[in-house]
Every structure is written in C-alpha cells, then in structure tokens.
C-alpha cells in the first residue's frame, strides 16, 4: 500500500524505469523518470509490507543484471545484492541432478515480496530458469535448489524470451504453498515452502510438442491468483487461456470462444473476485486484431467473456509483454496496460472506460501498482 495516498504505477521499459503517479481518481497522471536510463528494466516490484519500498530488476546489456531498491516510491534507487549462481565449490552435490549453473544469469525476470509473516523475505525468478530467496531484503540470495535442480529440468526448453522463471505466486492463506511459471516448462507447485516441487499443468494443451498434453513443457506466459480465492488461478499460455479452481491440480481451457486466445498478460483486480482481464493477440503478428486496442474480461460466474474497449477508441496494432498488465487494490478497480510500442493505458473504473497516459514510453516490459490504503 502506498504511504502517501497516491497510486504509483511502476513501468519497466526497454530504456529504463518510470513511476507514474495519480490520486485515487486515476484520471490525471504525472511521470517520474526515467531511472536506470538506457537499461532494460524487466520488472519493478513495490513491497506492500513496507509502503514506499520497491525493487527494480535492471538487466544491463554490457555489465550484467543488477537489483536496485527504492524506499521513496521509486524516486531514487540504490543498488542491493544481485543473485549469482554460486561457485561450484559452494553448490550442493548434484546426486545425478542436472547442474543448473551451465550458464551465467542472463536476465532477472520477476521479484515477489514474501508473505506478511516474513517481512524481510523476497523471491526472485531469473533466466536460466531458477528461483532465489532472500531473507534480508536483498542483501543476500540463496538458490532454491528443490526447483532449480528439479528432476525434469533437463527437458525444459527456452521460449523466445529465454528460459525464464517469470511468475511467482504465494498463497496468502498458507505461506508454504507457492507456485511458479517457467517458459517453456509450465507451472510448478510447492506445498512445503519451496523444498519440493511438482509440475502443475494437467489439462493445458501444447501445439509445439509431439505429446499435446505433457506433464510439463507448456509455454506459460503469465498466471494470476484470484484475489479472494487462493485455489483459483487465471492463466495465459502460448496455447490459450485456462482457469484452475483446484490449486493448479487441473486446468480448463476457457478461451476457445475468442477469435484468438494467444496472448501474454493477465490481471485479476482485488475488488473483482471471479474476474480476470486478458489481451488476446493474433498468434503470428503478436498484436491486437480488428485495428485497435482490445482488453477482454473473463467472468467465472457466469462463464463468459466480455469486451471492455471498442477497438475504434484507440486505433492501432498493440503488442504486450508478459508482465505488461496489472490491477490496483482500489474499488472500482484500476487496470493498467503497457504496450510494446510504449503506450500506457489506464482504466480507472474496472474496465468500463480507458484513457491513455499522455507520455510516449519506450517499449514497456512490465507494469506493477502500489495502491493507497482503502478508505474505511
């Protein structure tokens, strides 16, 4: 939650990071930045346990990846520790498991603040697909080898963005339940705080492997948890939109009625349990169809799709990266969509209307939101 009463939207781009700010009406926006000028900022993560704190994952093309922290809503940043694959002498014996350290860390993908009960804990997903944990707010990192040396790892494959661990979800009702998404290995689930993991992709079909329903190997693009029901997940895969109602034990394809249900983003606003937003794209072009912006809403009850914006409102062909959409915690919900051509669209009223923030950003990799406290 934001300490200063504002909505802060953290925008990671191809050429630096920005913070876009508004009051809770979310109609007028001001832009702060860029920070880390010229660098790929894959993700910026506000920490709801410490209002004003945020982390930025900066992937420098010349000198490697770096983690930064801000304690003032992203207005200034300081370097903190970056996880590095430990030297061989410090790695546990492999016992036949594949060695995860064949490559240096190429990119930092997603930082997830830990549960409220562990205020100094952070989780970090990187490429090559690995999960790290910090218990001292990014002063140091420990690899989570239960996943990093998973028995299936030898058969994981990279997607076009590399073999990245890009989604980390924590069950707010049980901090030992965790979920991750890896392209292209699919989703994995742990029920013991990350010690052991199992693939969690049953029912998710793939079009790019000989077996259309493998145990793992799905090209998952993004997954979000329902805000009120931690058993329910909404999933955007390379091969469509899926919903799980049983903690990822099984998935049901729900995107079949759309013209295309390829896409990258998903968002599930706090004030809208049972609903999620997606941006379907044409598979080959990777852009919206019908000549304009499209954002679709899925409602679990009744099970139906609805279009939230007429494509004529914002004409053009828009693409998105997997973390390009987020929702705030206000009611009505704010929904934020960044595009690969640098537009930031905002709906301040749960998708009823959309506006374009009047600033041309570089290609947007990610959008995340720090919300002000709800009014009593």
């Amino acid at each position: 939650m934001s300490a200063d009463g504002k909505v802060h939207v953290y925008v990671g781009t191809r050429k630096g990071g920005y913070v876009v700010e508004s009051d809770r009406r979310r109609r007028k926006w001001s832009v702060v930045g860029p920070f880390h000028d010229g660098m790929d900022v894959f993700h910026m993560a506000p920490d709801p346990r410490r209002p004003g704190d945020a982390y930025a994952l900066v992937n420098g093309v010349f000198f490697g990846p770096t983690v930064y922290r801000s304690t003032n809503h992203g207005h200034t940043w300081s370097e903190v520790a970056t996880p590095l694959i430990p030297p061989k002498s410090k790695r546990p014996p492999l016992d036949g498991a594949p060695d995860p350290a064949r490559f240096p860390i190429a990119n930092l993908w997603h930082l997830e603040p830990g549960p409220a009960s562990e205020p100094n804990t952070l989780f970090l997903g990187v490429d090559p697909a690995s999960l790290y944990r910090s218990d001292d707010r990014a002063k140091s990192w420990t690899p989570m080898d239960g996943l990093n040396q998973h028995e299936s790892r030898e058969k994981w494959n990279p997607g076009a963005g590399g073999m990245c661990l890009h989604t980390i979800l924590l069950d707010p009702t049980n901090p030992r339940k965790m979920y991750v998404g890896i392209s292209a290995a699919g989703t994995f689930k742990s029920e013991d705080g990350g010690e052991h993991w199992k693939p969690a992709n049953r029912g998710v079909r793939v079009s790019f492997l000989p077996d259309p329903t493998p145990e793992f190997g799905q090209c998952v693009h993004h997954v979000v948890m329902d805000p009120k029901n931690s058993s329910t997940f909404y999933r955007q895969d390379h091969d469509g939109v899926y919903v799980s109602h049983d903690e990822m034990e099984s998935w049901r394809h729900v995107g079949g009625s759309l013209k295309s249900d390829f896409g990258f983003v998903a968002a599930a606003p706090t004030a809208m349990p049972g609903s999620a937003f997606f941006v379907p794209l044409m598979g080959m072009a990777r852009t919206t169809w019908e000549g304009g912006l499209q954002v679709y809403r899925w409602d679990d009850k009744p099970k139906k799709w609805s279009r939230t914006v007429n494509p004529k409102k914002f004409p053009g062909q828009f693409g998105t990266h997997r973390e390009g959409m987020a929702a705030d915690a206000l009611d009505p919900a704010g929904i934020y969509l960044g595009t690969t051509t640098g537009q930031l669209f905002v709906s301040p009223d749960a998708g009823k209307s959309w506006l374009l923030v009047p600033h041309q950003f570089p290609a947007i990799h990610s959008v995340s939101v720090e919300s002000p406290p709800s009014r009593a």
Binding site: F62, G64, L84
Partner: protein, 89 residues
Amino acid sequence: MAEVRFDAMLRQFAVPSRASVGASDVRALLDELEAKFPRLKFRIRDETGSVRRFVRVFVNGEAIDRLHGLETPLGADDRVDILHSIQGG
C-alpha cells in the same frame, strides 16, 4: 606493471581512467582489478568467469579472443584496454 585503461562506461563502477597492475596474464590482471575495485566484480566477467559478451579486453591493441583469451600472458610494458562493444539501438 601493465598499464590498464578503462573506458568511460566502466567508470560508473568507481574505477579511474588508468591503473597500473602487476599480473602474469589477463586472468590474474582481472582478479587483481576486482580485488582493488570491488564494484568491478561480475561486471567485466560473469559469475562463471567468462568475459561478458559485450565487453572486450585488448592487449597492446589486439583483442584477447585473437590471442590466448584469459591466459594471454602479460609483461611489464604491456598495455591493456577494457572497452565495451558497439551494441544497442
């Protein structure tokens, strides 16, 4: 002691424009530089010890990948340039 010259982008890691370092080869020189200027660690070389893809190290004007890589021997009068590649857009 070999003379080392850093390009402007590397100076963000708190190194001077030039330094003198005693080392028998390029690997030892980089070890010495990382010890002397800790913020250089993992910037020229990644955590596997390889020189990063878009960083180039030259000895007397020749790229080390055309010499003997990190094992390229160094003498007292050698000059080492550490530069970044042309990349971007």
